[in-house]
Amino acid sequence: MATIRIPPVLRAQTGGQTEVEAAGGNVGEVLRALTAAHPATEEQLFGPEGDLNRYVNVYLNDEDVRVLDGLDTGVSDSDTVIIMPAMAGG
């Protein structure tokens, strides 16, 4: 299973977990596994059409999935998916 790193602002919705394991062959499936296990994350990640929200960056290891195949980007067990909304605090 791939590992998903949860950003601070979503940890309340994952019961405080900073990392969640999720099964799936591509990024979209892995994120849907997350929202299935923690439904409160769905609204933050996905828009009404099922697209990833533009203000949430998702990385497969160190690459933004937008430069790969978006939600269709393939994922293997050793991969890490990082969810990262912008932070403004200074």
């Binding site: 950003p7 601070p8 602002v9 979503l10 900073t18 933050q44 533009r54 203000y55 949430v56 960056n57 990385y59 160190d62 690459e63 933004d64 430069v67 990082i82 990262m84 909304p85 912008a86 932070m87 403004a88 605090g89 200074g90």
Partner: protein, 384 residues
């Protein structure tokens, strides 16, 4: 034999030499070696090394009746040179007793051929010792002008260390005053400064730390009417803002003016940092095309932040500034560094230029000042 010789030439004390020099009409000759001269010398001192005296003194001191004062390191070489001058027909010669060592001990000023005073060479010696920095690098820092947007959590440590490093001009943009709750992380301020404008408080701390730094206070809120003029005055910018509208405004203006921005953010136990150099790498909008809604972007005052996060990310920002000023190392261009304090883990992500970026993309339109930092969907700006 040396004692006998020493009774023949006039010797004067350093402060006497200083008075004569100030009075004018003195020819001042430095009788040391070139590397000593480079290190530090008296202003207007003309170098005539001992071995070249006979050849070069005529050019340095053409008038044999003019008052001629010689100095060296400790007074010995200049004494012997003074004797030689008298043998050559100079009639009004003196040697400075104790040399440049005595001069400096008496607090009198010296200059270096490199452009730094001896005090500066001492202050920055741990920098100039580094081959990658050297005197040239330190001079670059002394000549640099860096603007810090925000004199709070990130701005505080960044400003402190950039001042310590000798960044010659530091501008601070902040319209806030010091509050007790700031002191858990904004270490440039202190308890006595509560209620004082942050820019003023920061300036006071910096002036005490390093008088070489010129601190310019910009005690106002940045907006599209003032940002272009402000950014034009600086070489590079540090983004320590605490809200999205300012970050996007800063991005759009800095890309237009081609000013690099070192940008970090902090919340709870997490920090992010990247360096945006317009058109060389991505801009802030390439990374975050749209700001998040409020519930996904709480502020430190709502959510909390571990105090040390400000220091950790602020100093990474300062490090980026120094690398850019010096032109050394690898700045975080196209790289987003994530730091998690709880695990003390760093993660590096790649950031690419977005070819369709509305600000730095190839087909990006020119936008008027009033449109800088704007989005079609203004509701997005409830965040922060």
């Amino acid at each position: 034999m040396t004692t006998q010789i020493k009774q023949q030439v006039e010797e004067i004390e350093a402060f006497e030499a200083a008075q004569e020099i100030e009075g004018g009409d003195v020819v001042l000759v430095d009788t040391r070696e070139p590397h000593e001269y480079q290190e530090a010398h008296l202003e207007n001192g003309k170098l005539v090394p001992p071995g070249l005296l006979a050849d070069e003194i005529a050019a340095a001191a053409p008038d044999k009746s003019a008052r001629t004062i010689l100095y060296c390191r400790s007074g010995n070489r200049s004494y012997i040179a003074a004797q030689q001058l008298e043998a050559l027909g100079y009639t009004d010669v003196a040697s400075m007793a104790g040399g440049i060592l005595a001069w400096q001990e008496q607090g009198l000023p010296v200059v270096a051929a490199s452009g730094m005073t001896a005090e500066q060479r001492d202050r920055y010696s741990r920098h100039t010792l580094l081959p990658e920095v050297g005197v040239d690098g330190q001079l670059k820092m002394l000549n640099a002008k860096v603007l810090l947007v925000g004199a709070g959590g990130l701005g505080a440590p960044t400003a402190l260390y950039l001042a310590a490093a000798g960044i010659g001009t530091i501008g601070l943009v902040d319209d806030d005053v010091v509050d007790a709750s700031n002191l858990q992380r904004q270490v440039i301020h202190n308890t006595e400064r509560i209620g004082t404008p942050k820019t003023q408080s920061a300036r006071l701390t910096i002036e005490a730390l390093n008088p070489d730094v010129d601190v310019v206070e910009h005690n106002f809120r940045l907006d599209s009417s003032n940002i272009v003029e402000l950014l034009s005055e600086y070489d590079l910018i540090v983004d320590g803002a605490d809200n999205f509208p300012t970050r996007y405004l800063l991005n759009d203006a800095s890309v237009r003016l081609r000013k690099p921005v070192v940008s970090a953010s902090i919340l709870s136990f997490d920090g992010q940092i990247s360096t945006f150099v317009p058109f060389e790498g991505p801009c802030y909008r390439c990374l975050y095309p749209t700001p998040p809604p409020a519930e996904l972007a709480p502020s430190c005052s709502a959510n909390g932040v571990l105090g040390v996060m400000a220091g950790q990310m602020g100093l990474l920002q300062a490090n980026e500034v120094l690398k850019l000023v010096l032109g050394i190392g690898e700045p975080l261009i196209g790289r987003l560094l994530l730091y998690e304090a709880l695990s003390t883990r760093f993660t590096e992500l790649k950031v690419r230029r977005d070819p369709h970026c509305p600000i730095c993309g190839e087909d990006a339109p020119e936008i008027p000042d009033s449109e800088l930092g704007k989005f079609p969907d203004y509701d997005a700006f409830c965040a922060g």
